[in-house]
């Protein structure tokens, strides 16, 4: 019979993930006071879903919660209109941190123990990737801001870029079976 892990091992990242998601959803809703009420709906659902997903070790639920907060942000951005929102890279980084904390909580709730030294290395890589992601996002936003028009050519190029990125990542992420 497998031993049940101590709750303290997974409760801390679970709480941190839910709190970060609540803070993010709250900030997005508060920024647009006019539609704060309707905006808060997907945010609240996302936070509740995330809490349930972490408690039940339902990893797909974490992804859905992140997408819901992203949806809240997308609605707010589209509704606001105007220039590019400079806070978007930080929101993206925040969403990544929420997802990572949620997954760490799920992994720590597994019966076999995670090893601390390994987790430290993992968090260092996550921090570096997040910083890189923020930098990339800032560059992308700057390029978008300086682009005069958004026509069919840009749309086609964007679609091609999306397909390429997702296709490449999917190919790299495929399951591989080799004889060891």
């Amino acid at each position: 019979m497998a031993a049940t892990p101590a709750p303290s091992r997974w409760v801390i990242p679970a709480t941190a993930s839910t709190a970060a998601a609540a803070a993010l959803a709250g900030v997005i809703a508060i920024r647009d006071a006019d539609i704060a009420g309707p905006l808060a709906i997907p945010g609240v659902i996302a936070v509740l879903l995330l809490a349930a997903a972490v408690l039940m070790r339902w990893t797909n639920g974490i992804a859905v919660a992140v997408v819901l907060i992203g949806l809240e942000y997308a609605v707010a951005t589209v509704q606001r209109g105007g220039g590019v929102d400079a806070a978007a890279p930080l929101v993206g980084a925040g969403l990544l941190v929420v997802a990572e904390l949620g997954h760490v909580a799920c992994e720590r709730a597994e019966p076999h123990a995670l090893i601390r030294g390994v987790e430290t290395r993992r968090w260092m890589i996550v921090a570096a990737a997040t910083a890189g992601g923020i930098a990339l996002a800032v560059i992308a936003l700057a390029v978008a801001q300086n682009t005069a028009s958004f026509g069919f050519g840009e749309l086609a190029a964007g679609a091609l870029a999306v397909v390429t990125v997702v296709g490449l990542l999917t190919w790299l992420a495929r399951d591989v079976r080799d004889r060891g």
Binding site: T77, V78, A88, H103, L114, R122, V126, A137, A144
Partner: protein, 425 residues
């Protein structure tokens, strides 16, 4: 090694794709900015995720044969390729072995190039020959985006011997054989045990003269003695039917009882044979000595209940397995008509038969209704009638329930025989 993507990887891919498509659909670059941290993490993770080289696993099990209840230690030596910091090690679950620590899966931290020794404490809980099977390993990449599963065949076999019942006194057989043993024969001859006195006759040895008795009677009297002989014992195991629960099974008790009886009789220099009468007929001819004791234990370890509809009677047993005058000790739950008929047939052929009934009642589920209780009572009455039928045939049936020493049960047989002897006059 098998590389499998973690659910997180597909989740992040989906999130990034959705945000990118959302950005395209709405024409808002902010949504692309939401996707970039996820894409950056995936790119870094995929670059770092290289399939590790196979992990070298050396295993040693000490000891490789134990008695039920005894501990075992499985030592695993792990040598991994650089980069693997942690490893999950899953020891295969084997029915007869239990994890003393209660953890079939272990997390092990590793240092590059330095072999790591992991000690796993096991406990033998059930008799049998247990193959340890395949040990599974699982490692992760730095970001836990992939897991790498490997298997290593342990190729190890553990022999768990049944915890034998201790027997200090043995059942006295009706007849002994011509070979020398530890059993005092009923007839008179050369031996140690005093039997009787009789007048001196031609051919009697001088050393047999009882001088004290001769002086008292005024003529020569000699001592008569009982010779020490051995016996042939055939353990007759019923493997047609079984009854089992979480507490154990009838077969477990049969094997434990058989092992105890065989050890006790072999220890007394008797010859012991084994007949496993069931769906598959297995046997071991009567023999004695240490080597034969191991043969019997190995035969017991192979014993299984094999379900069969085919009718079998005593004729299927080769006659050489049942030497004339042998004491046949049957260990049976008395649940199968074929065994019941075969044992009565043996008794009818003049064999000295003792039936140790392994009580199946402790392994039966409790009755849930009045009808079931009534049926159970009727069934018990039928069994009682069956015991009476055996007793009428001259074969005692003693019931051995879990927890009762087998020696006590065998004492009941002696008492039954004494009673029958007195009744016969």
């Amino acid at each position: 090694m098998t590389r499998t993507a973690a659910p997180r990887l597909t989740s992040y891919l989906a999130i990034a794709a959705l945000f990118l498509l959302g950005g395209l659909a709405t024409g808002r670059p902010e949504l692309v900015a939401l996707a970039t941290p996820f894409i950056a993490l995936l790119v870094v993770g995929l670059i770092l995720a290289r399939s590790p080289r196979p992990i070298e696993i050396g295993m040693k099990l000490t000891p490789d044969s134990v008695v039920e209840g005894e501990p075992l230690e499985l030592t695993v030596d792990l040598t991994t390729s650089p980069g693997i910091r942690a490893l999950e090690l899953a020891v295969p679950a084997v029915r007869g072995l239990d994890f003393a620590s209660g953890e079939p899966m272990l997390a092990v931290t590793l240092d590059d190039r330095v072999p790591r020794h992991v000690s796993i404490q096991l406990r033998a809980v059930h008799w049998g020959v247990h193959a340890l099977g395949k040990m599974r390993t699982r490692t992760y990449d730095a970001l836990h985006l992939f897991r790498f599963d490997g298997e290593a065949d342990t190729g190890m076999v553990v022999r768990v011997y049944p915890r034998a019942e201790t027997m200090r006194t043995l059942l006295r057989p009706r007849r002994t054989l011509a070979l020398t043993g530890n059993r005092v024969a009923r007839h008179k001859g050369d031996g140690i045990e005093f039997a009787d006195l009789r007048p001196y006759g031609p051919g009697d040895r001088v050393r047999s003269i009882n001088w004290r008795a001769s002086a008292r009677r005024g003529q020569l009297w000699v001592n008569e003695r009982h010779p020490e002989r051995n016996v042939d014992v055939v353990l007759f195991l019923d493997t047609f039917a079984d009854a089992e629960s979480d507490a154990g099974s009838v077969l477990d008790e049969t094997i434990r009882g058989g092992a105890g009886l065989a050890a006790a009789w072999l220890g007394a220099r008797d010859r012991v044979g084994l007949v496993s009468f069931g769906g598959i007929l297995e046997w071991l001819e009567a023999g004695s000595g240490v080597r034969h004791a191991y043969r019997i234990v190995d035969a017991l370890l192979r014993t299984r209940v094999v379900f069969s509809y085919a009718w079998k009677d005593i004729d299927v047993i080769p006659s050489r397995l049942l030497p004339p005058g042998a004491l046949i000790v049957a260990l049976s739950p008395m649940l199968d008509d074929r065994v019941i008929a075969a044992l009565l047939d043996l008794r009818a052929r003049g064999f000295d038969l003792v039936v140790v009934e392994i009580a199946p009642e402790p392994f039966l589920p409790p009755t849930r209704s009045e009808t079931e209780s009534l049926a159970r009572r009727l069934w018990k009455l039928q069994r009682e009638a069956l015991r009476y039928r055996y007793a009428r045939a001259g074969a005692p049936v003693v019931t051995w329930t879990t927890g009762t020493p087998l020696e006590v049960v065998m004492t009941e047989v002696e008492a039954w025989r004494r009673h029958q002897h007195l009744r016969a006059g």
